[in-house]
């Protein structure tokens, strides 16, 4: 589904990603871990198409197509979803209206008519129940005055509505208490299927107790320096990142 080859990316001439190789197949869950400043969020933003980053070498192949030249919305239309570490507040636009716009723009891009209002409402009802979201919440302005947990739950709600092929969860666990973490993880697990894939970016192992990865990669200084199974996450939790840094620097 996703194949990243020798990806180099920089922002304002500062090199952040220095040769990433990663392959994610349908049905898989990958975790990307690493110390602060290793390039995790940059990798997520570059895959989603944030323009501030310049890809200086390598490529990103999604479903057999090089997506580097595509705008963020075109990538979204093809099924790439990024759950933001810091979801942006948009006063004046309700969650429901935002989702209607996002879904219908995606349908338009695929040559489909707008989703009938009845179907939209039904879908909103189902998906909000999945994330245990109060209906009143949906008429509030997007992310405005939401708590950290509400923002993250709302991100996964949007993911449920958009049904992406590839979901990248950037630090979705940060700012969540244990109950919210469980609800979010439960939502992600219910959305998982053999046809889609999830990339979980996290600093800590705790989310991975709930969303169990098939592969764990350690990102350090712009490169993936170690890959393994889910046991690698436990090892990192116990020993921290220093031994990885030492291994790399040796």
């Amino acid at each position: 589904m996703l194949k990243i080859n020798n990806l180099h990316a920089s922002i304002e001439d500062k090199s952040i990603l220095k040769g990433i190789n990663l392959e994610v197949k349908a049905g898989e869950v990958h975790a990307i871990m690493g110390p602060n400043g290793s390039g995790k969020s940059t990798l997520a933003s570059v895959i989603a198409g944030k323009e501030e980053y310049e890809v200086t070498d390598g490529n990103i192949i999604f479903e057999g197509e090089d997506i580097e030249e595509l705008a963020a919305e075109e990538r979204a239309h093809k099924g790439v979803f990024l759950s933001f570490q810091y979801p942006v507040e948009i006063p004046g636009v309700s969650v429901t209206n935002f989702m209607k716009t996002a879904i219908n723009e995606t349908r338009k891009a695929k040559g489909l008519e707008d989703m009938p209002a009845k179907d939209m409402l039904k879908m909103i009802r189902e998906k909000s129940e999945l994330l245990e979201i109060d209906r009143k919440f949906l008429s509030r302005s997007l992310n405005e005055g939401f708590s950290g947990g509400e923002k993250k739950r709302n991100e996964i709600f949007q993911m449920a509505m958009l049904e992406p092929k590839l979901a990248i969860l950037d630090e979705t666990d940060s700012g969540l208490d244990i109950d919210a973490l469980r609800i979010v993880a439960n939502g992600v697990n219910k959305l998982k299927s053999k046809d889609n894939a999830v990339v979980v970016i996290t600093h800590y192992q705790r989310l991975l107790d709930y969303i169990v990865p098939d592969y764990v990669h350690v990102l350090y200084n712009g490169r993936i320096v170690k890959s393994g199974g889910k046991e690698l996450a436990h090892e990192l939790e116990e020993k921290g990142y220093d031994w990885i840094k030492e291994e790399v620097n040796a």
């Binding site: 989603a48 944030k50 919305e73 933001f84 507040e89 948009i90 723009e105 891009a109 958009l162």
Partner: protein
């Protein structure tokens, strides 16, 4: 002959058409003297520092335009709020168009200024209110001197007017250049409520200069909502002067939606002559190309325990220019005043500009006065967030601009008007928004 000379000499022609032995004509005569003394304002004056009328005054305007052959409603329907029942006072090239209007004298007066100025039964109201709120600056005086026609609205005590009143001024381009000087008087009695929508619309490429004056009086506990739709074509200039005098416990609001025109200058003054008054001044400006919009507001807090709320949003594209000059004056006696002012702007293009200047003159010592102005660009992180959810750049921009102006839109009390304004904004931004904000 320049425009000033032409106007001064035209005043003599006006005197052949009106009753010169009247109270109003004495007012007119004083006013033309003021205009003759002061002439048109120039950029040397502080209040006109950022707005030049020079290029506009060069046109050879017809001061008394010929009457146009009747327009048909179907041709101009789109300029009306037509999906609800309203009173309508419609003018074409400055003349009353009865076939397009729906006036009334049934319990309230929604009719013509020309009638009010000439018929004896209106004389008392005219004497008490005409030119009693208007400032004596040169352009207002120019209008006063030529005031013959416009809307006359008198709502007696305790009357709640259910239907909004629309005032529409069309110009057809019958003349190569037209100058219009409508004069409106709105007197709202104790406990009475009224909603008014005003629009100036040119139907021609020929230049139009409108110098409009509206006086509004809100008596004790009256509620007055006034909406100005300024979405004219790029050959039309509007200089609007609106003066609102409020008595105690009244509520008055003026919303100004400036979406089009060559040059728009809004002078909006509120005078609070009693306690516990609420004054609301809000505006959305969305312009591009070489358009220019200048909002010049004054709120004069004269008595204690009053509030004022000013909220102006501006979005400027192309080489457009904006001005916001908001003055809040708090008298020494006006303790416990709560005056709020905000002016937020987004510059979409590098060549657009805005001059924003809050002016607070506070002589009382126990007041809450706040003001803030911001000038920014569209929020890049919000753009990426929306695009990453599949919303294309143009639509994402439009959503952000709607969100930005939502505070002002949301206080429009007539749903059909709000919907219309939403549509005008969407079409200006070139998008279809699938829902109402």
């Amino acid at each position: 002959m320049d425009l000033k000379e032409k106007l001064v000499s035209s005043f003599l022609a006006l005197e052949n058409k009106v009753d010169i032995d009247s109270y109003v004509h004495d007012v007119r005569t004083d006013a033309i003297k003021i205009f003759e003394d002061q002439g048109f304002p120039s950029k040397k004056e502080e209040a006109w520092k950022y707005t030049s009328l020079n290029s506009i005054l060069k046109e050879d305007y017809s001061v008394f335009p010929k009457q146009e052959n009747a327009l048909e409603f179907k041709d101009i329907k789109k300029y009306f709020i037509h999906d609800i029942d309203t009173y309508k006072i419609v003018f074409i090239d400055g003349k009353y168009a009865s076939h397009l209007s729906q006036t009334t004298h049934d319990g309230i007066d929604v009719c013509l200024m020309s009638a009010a100025l000439s018929k004896p039964k209106y004389q008392l109201v005219i004497k008490n209110y005409f030119n009693k709120a208007a400032e004596k600056d040169s352009l207002t005086s120019l209008n006063t001197a030529f005031s013959c026609e416009g809307a006359y609205i008198h709502i007696p005590k305790n009357k709640i007017v259910e239907k909004p009143i629309q005032i529409l001024h069309f110009s057809t381009g019958n003349e190569s250049a037209t100058m219009l000087q409508p004069r409106n008087l709105v007197v709202v009695g104790e406990n009475a409520h009224v909603q008014i929508i005003e629009r100036h619309q040119s139907l021609t490429e020929n230049p139009v200069l409108t110098n409009s004056v509206t006086e509004i009086f809100a008596s004790k506990r009256a509620i007055v909502d006034f909406y100005k739709i300024q979405n004219d074509n790029e050959n039309a200039t509007l200089i609007d002067h609106t003066f609102v005098k409020q008595s105690r416990e009244s509520f008055a609001s003026v919303h100004t939606f400036s979406f089009g025109g060559k040059l728009i200058r809004n002078n909006l003054n509120f005078y609070q002559e009693g306690e516990r008054i609420d004054s609301t001044l809000k505006g959305i400006t969305i312009i591009g190309n070489k358009q220019h919009v200048d909002h010049n507001t004054l709120v004069h807090h004269i008595e204690p325990n009053c509030e004022s709320h000013q909220d102006y949003k501006g979005i400027f594209d192309g080489k457009s220019t904006g001005v916001f000059n908001g003055k809040v004056l708090v008298n020494k006696e006006a303790q416990k005043t709560n005056a709020f002012q905000a002016n937020n702007n987004i510059l979409i293009s590098d060549k657009a500009s805005i001059n924003t200047k809050p002016q607070l003159e506070i002589f009382a010592d126990d007041v809450k006065c706040s003001h803030g102005c911001t000038i920014g660009q569209l929020d890049e992180s919000a753009m990426f967030y929306m695009q990453a959810r599949g919303i294309p750049e143009k639509e994402a921009k439009a959503l952000l601009m709607f969100a930005f102006s939502n505070n002002v839109l949301s206080s429009v009390k007539i749903p059909e008007l709000k919907q219309r304004i939403t549509k005008i904004i969407a079409s200006k931004l070139g998008v279809n928004i699938g829902f109402d904000l």
